[in-house]
């Protein structure tokens, strides 16, 4: 879906709006961003559906527009300390570069879809060699062992992926904070006062430790444990208070995708 907007000075795809503004063909000053939002919401209401990818695209583009416009409207950065300011901009540069790169790969993905569709319009010849022709078969199975046949069978019979809603943006780690909370609720009441370090010595990956830490914070929020840290970087002491909290169901969030185990691969 293409996000389109309609305002007194501009009508068309939002994408193109961003392009026009950044190439000075349109003065951002003249565009009431409120109207853009209104138009988008009206458009969404009229179609009656929520397209998540369109929505996120809209958010990204609008965020850039707001950013650009606020820079046009606000006075210069004289009062801000330069160092601090530059730091912010460097981070922004990285973000910008990443945004541009993502868009390029997104565009590549679209191009691939078009290519694949075009290629699918042709069926390759597959009849093979005429039966009348004598084939003195070279051993096609040379170097193939029974194990490879088994692997091929498993590959062939693996459940075929069914087209589903794209959940790639959701981390599907098996280890959730909720599970860690459950684990701690089972361990802590009998443990008295324990240090976080002691609780996590048996864990091997950073991710597992992080999940336990989030679980401890969750329990603290629920008032079921108290936390105490003697000094900076000191050991975190955890004590079970036993107060019934709001239940373990609140901590069902998974760990954020940015700390997926893959990050530690290399």
């Amino acid at each position: 879906m293409v996000v389109t907007v309609s305002t007194p000075v501009y009508e068309g795809p939002l994408d193109a709006l961003l392009h026009l503004v950044t190439t000075h063909q349109l003065e951002l000053y003249d565009i009431p961003l409120g109207d853009v939002v209104e138009a988008f919401l009206a458009d969404m209401r009229s179609t009656g559906t929520v397209d998540l990818s369109a929505l996120s695209e809209f958010l990204v583009i609008l965020a850039v527009l707001v950013e650009l416009k606020s820079r046009r409207l606000l006075p210069g950065p004289d009062e801000v300390e330069t160092d601090e300011e530059m730091e912010g901009w460097e981070a922004r540069d990285v973000l910008l570069a990443r945004l541009l790169e993502c868009r390029a790969y997104g565009a590549a993905g679209d191009a691939f879809a078009v290519l694949a569709e075009r290629a699918a319009a042709s069926v390759p010849r597959s009849a093979g060699i005429d039966d009348t022709i004598v084939v003195d078969p070279p051993d096609l199975l040379e170097g193939v062992d029974p194990g490879q046949v088994t692997q091929a069978y498993l590959r062939a019979t693996a459940p075929r992926p069914v087209p589903v809603v794209d959940l790639a943006h959701v981390t599907v780690d098996t280890l959730t904070v909720a599970e860690a909370v459950g684990e701690l609720v089972a361990v802590l009441p009998g443990a008295g006062r324990v240090s976080f370090r002691a609780l996590t010595t048996h864990l091997t990956t950073r991710l597992e430790v992080i999940v336990r830490f989030l679980a401890v914070l969750e329990l603290c929020k629920q008032g079921r444990v108290t936390l105490d840290q003697g000094s900076t970087f000191g050991d975190l002491e955890i004590a079970w208070t036993g107060h019934a909290g709001t239940g373990t169901g609140t901590g069902t969030g998974t760990v954020d995708g940015d700390v997926g185990p893959d990050e530690y691969e290399g």
């Binding site: 069926v123 010849r125 597959s126 009849a127 093979g128 060699i129 005429d130 039966d131 022709i133 004598v134 084939v135 003195d136 078969p137 070279p138 051993d139 096609l140 199975l141 040379e142 170097g143 193939v144 062992d145 029974p146 194990g147 490879q148 046949v149 088994t150 091929a152 069978y153 498993l154 590959r155 062939a156 019979t157 459940p159 075929r160």
Partner: protein, 190 residues
């Protein structure tokens, strides 16, 4: 001279076909009467001759088939014998594995498992002597069932297919595979 619309559609169908295609089916697909089909086929056959194509269109087993020019048979033999490739493609190996583990099995069943048309690959495997027909299934259409051959066992250094590594524990339960198969099995009439 360029082909007429009907002749080129027939040529396209024959390019995609693995078995001879009956004129009746062609008439149905093109939505034209039988005599127009015959006419278009004539045109196609003549055009292949006149332009000295590398293939011929022949009437065989009540249908039409595209096959290589008989006078070029020596090249095709060399091609076949040097091997399309010296190893089986992964598609061919997967098909062979399905036959090995589920024999006797029909083409439709293999296609259901692999999710793609397997006619060409089955033909290749049969031609190379790794699989062979082993009876027909009961039920509509009585499709040919395939099994692996002694040559297959020999090449893998096995005494019998029972010696293939077991797969049961690695698989999603047989019910699931069966169910998938049933769901994908073409309705009677295929």
């Amino acid at each position: 001279m360029a082909l007429s619309d009907h002749a080129r559609i027939i040529e396209a169908i024959l390019t995609a076909a693995v078995e001879p295609v009956s004129p009746r089916l062609l008439a149905e697909l093109l939505e034209i009467p039988a005599d127009r089909v015959a006419q278009a086929c004539e045109e196609l056959i003549r055009s292949c001759e006149e332009q000295r194509r590398g293939f011929v269109v022949v009437r065989i087993a009540g249908g039409l088939r595209m096959q290589t020019q008989p006078d070029l048979v020596s090249y095709i033999e060399r091609f076949a014998n040097t091997g399309v490739s010296s190893r089986l493609s992964s598609a061919a190996l997967e098909t062979l594995a399905i036959v090995a583990y589920r024999q006797p099995v029909s083409r439709a069943q293999i296609a259901a498992l692999r999710g793609v048309n397997v006619d060409g690959v089955v033909r290749l495997l049969e031609q190379r002597g790794y699989i062979a027909p082993a009876g027909r299934a009961a039920g509509p259409g009585q499709p040919i069932l395939y099994a692996t051959t002694d040559a297959f066992l020999e090449r893998l250094g096995l005494d019998s297919v029972a010696q293939l590594p077991p797969v049961e524990d690695l698989l999603p339960g047989p019910e699931m595979v069966g169910e998938l198969e049933d769901r994908l099995r073409p309705a009677p009439g295929e």
